[in-house]
Structures are given as structure tokens and as C-alpha cells.
Amino acid sequence: MEMSEWTSQVRRGILEYCILQLIGHKPRYGYELVTLLDQWEPLAVTEGTLYPLLRRLLKDHYIESFWKESESGPPRKYYNLTDSGRQLMHMMAAEWNKISGAVEQIQRFGGENID
């Protein structure tokens, strides 16, 4: 497997989780999410990935959207977590902690002396 392919597969799942976290913190709009995620190089997304992903989360009822005027610019389409989205986020958070804990142990000890 090529490195870039591995990276993109790992990122895809994590990205979805991070987006839920960001939206869970407060309602956010697409441009804001792209700019926010740009701060972390491994999480930087293109618009071509983000918007379709948002659309899918919307369809699966994990997030909901509403249009709102902004003072400075054009109307923005904000996204909000639904109850089932928040539930999913919590489940992902628990899973993520377990995974990262396990990976860290393996990285550190290579499977030896785990007590």
C-alpha cells in the first residue's frame, strides 16, 4: 500500500470525527471549517472533500443546517449537531481514546511487558 493511500484512509475517518467535534463546539459554516482545519497540516481538507462530506452527514441526520445572514459578507450556511450526531460524536470519542491508547502502548513497548 502506498503511503499516501494509507494516509488518506486514516484521515477520512478521523476527519469526520474532528468535524463533528468542531460543529459540536458551536455552529460553524463551511468556509470556517476549511480555514480551521487548515491549521493542522494532517487535517487540511479541500473543499471538494469537505462539502460532500457535510452533505452526507446532513443526509444521515447527524448534523442539521440553517442559513443565516452575516454582517460583513454573504449569507452563511451553518451546521449544527443533532442529538444523534452528538451521540455519534461521543461514541467516536470513546473509540478514539481506546484506539490511540492501544496504538501508543504498541508504539512504546512493541507488545512487550504490558502490565
Binding site: Y31, T46, E47, G48, Y51, L58, K59, H61, S65, P74
Partner: protein, 189 residues
């Protein structure tokens, strides 16, 4: 302000998204429009924003493929039965309608062309081509072309009607498919 290039981009995106239901398509295009305007308001050159968005065709494709992924979310038994029902009725109907209409459209279309060619040939003396209205009522050579055009027109008309019918039927199918598709009905928050 979004320039002509930005507007062209949005128009293209709109066109490539034509397979999406109208409300979803408009919402997607509006969102990208808002994205471009937001970037401009933040001082990013429009050309940079557009190039980041990438080829509108690819963006549209990404929307569509995420939409297909959503199909996996068939949760309730009712959804599954709705889809099975769709395939059963549409499948059976299509087995009869599609081949018949397609054959008639192409077969009759081909014949119409042949008839007109025969008319031309007969006008210029190909006496071996037989044209008659009934037994013993041979068409005079000089009327060959008129006869060919009338008969060819009728046959061609049938071909066109079948072709249009086929197109209508296929459009009807995809419309129905869309309605059966689970998860389609609730898009907006």
C-alpha cells in the same frame, strides 16, 4: 463581488449537479457561492478560491458519490422492501417496454431512410424497385419521390415516437427511483 469567472464556475457546477434533486442542487450551489463570496470578503483572490475548489465536474462528482454512500444507510425493513418493490415492478416493465421501444425506434428509423433512398433510386430509373398502393396499382415513376416521402415520413414518425416514448419512460424510471431512494426525503435542517 463575485466576478464573471466565479459565476461561470457556479453555472458549470449547477449543470454537473443536474442529477441531484432540485432542492439539493440549489442548496449546494448556493453554499459554494457563499464560500466564494466569503473568501473574497476575507481578501483571498477569487482565482485562488476557484482553484482550491477545483474542477467543477470533479466537485459535482464528489457530491454524487457521497450521495451514493448514503445509500448504505438503508436501515429499516420498510426501506429495503420499497427498493425491492421498485426493482421488481420496474424490472418487469422494463424487460418488455425497453426492448420493444428501442427495436421499433431503430428498426423503423432505418426503414424510413431506406424508403427515401429507394424513392430517389426509382425516380432515376431503378425500375426493379416495386412501389404500389395495392395489387395492380403501381406508382408512376415520377411520383416515386412523393410516395417515398409520405411512407418514409409515416415510418420515421413511428420511429421518433418510439424514441421519445423510450426517453420519457427512462426519465420516469429515474424519477421514481429517486423517490423510492431512502434518506432522500429529509435533506434540510
Amino acid at each position: 463581488m463575485i466576478s464573471r469567472y466565479g459565476k461561470e464556475y457556479l453555472e458549470k457546477l449547477n449543470r454537473y449537479l443536474e442529477k441531484l434533486p432540485d432542492d439539493e442542487r440549489m442548496d449546494a450551489v448556493m453554499e459554494i457561492e457563499s464560500h466564494i463570496a466569503e473568501g473574497i470578503a476575507n481578501g483571498v483572490p477569487e482565482a485562488v478560491i476557484l482553484s482550491r475548489l477545483g474542477d467543477p465536474r470533479k466537485l459535482a462528482k464528489a457530491y454524487r458519490s457521497e450521495r451514493l454512500n448514503g445509500l448504505k444507510g438503508m436501515k429499516s425493513l420498510k426501506d429495503v422492501f420499497a427498493v425491492i418493490g421498485f426493482y421488481c415492478t420496474a424490472g418487469l416493465l422494463s424487460v418488455m417496454i425497453v426492448p420493444v421501444l428501442a427495436t421499433v425506434a431503430y428498426g423503423f428509423g432505418f426503414c424510413a431512410v431506406l424508403i427515401v433512398i429507394a424513392g430517389i433510386l426509382r425516380t432515376f430509373g431503378a425500375a426493379w424497385i416495386n412501389m404500389s398502393i395495392g395489387p395492380g396499382m403501381e406508382i408512376a415513376t415520377e411520383y416515386s419521390m412523393i410516395y417515398a416521402l409520405v411512407v418514409g415520413g409515416i415510418v420515421g414518425g413511428i420511429a421518433i415516437a418510439s424514441w421519445l416514448g423510450l426517453k420519457k419512460y427512462l426519465a420516469f424510471l429515474s424519477e421514481r427511483y429517486r423517490r423510492v431512494l431512502p434518506g432522500k426525503q429529509a435533506v434540510h435542517g
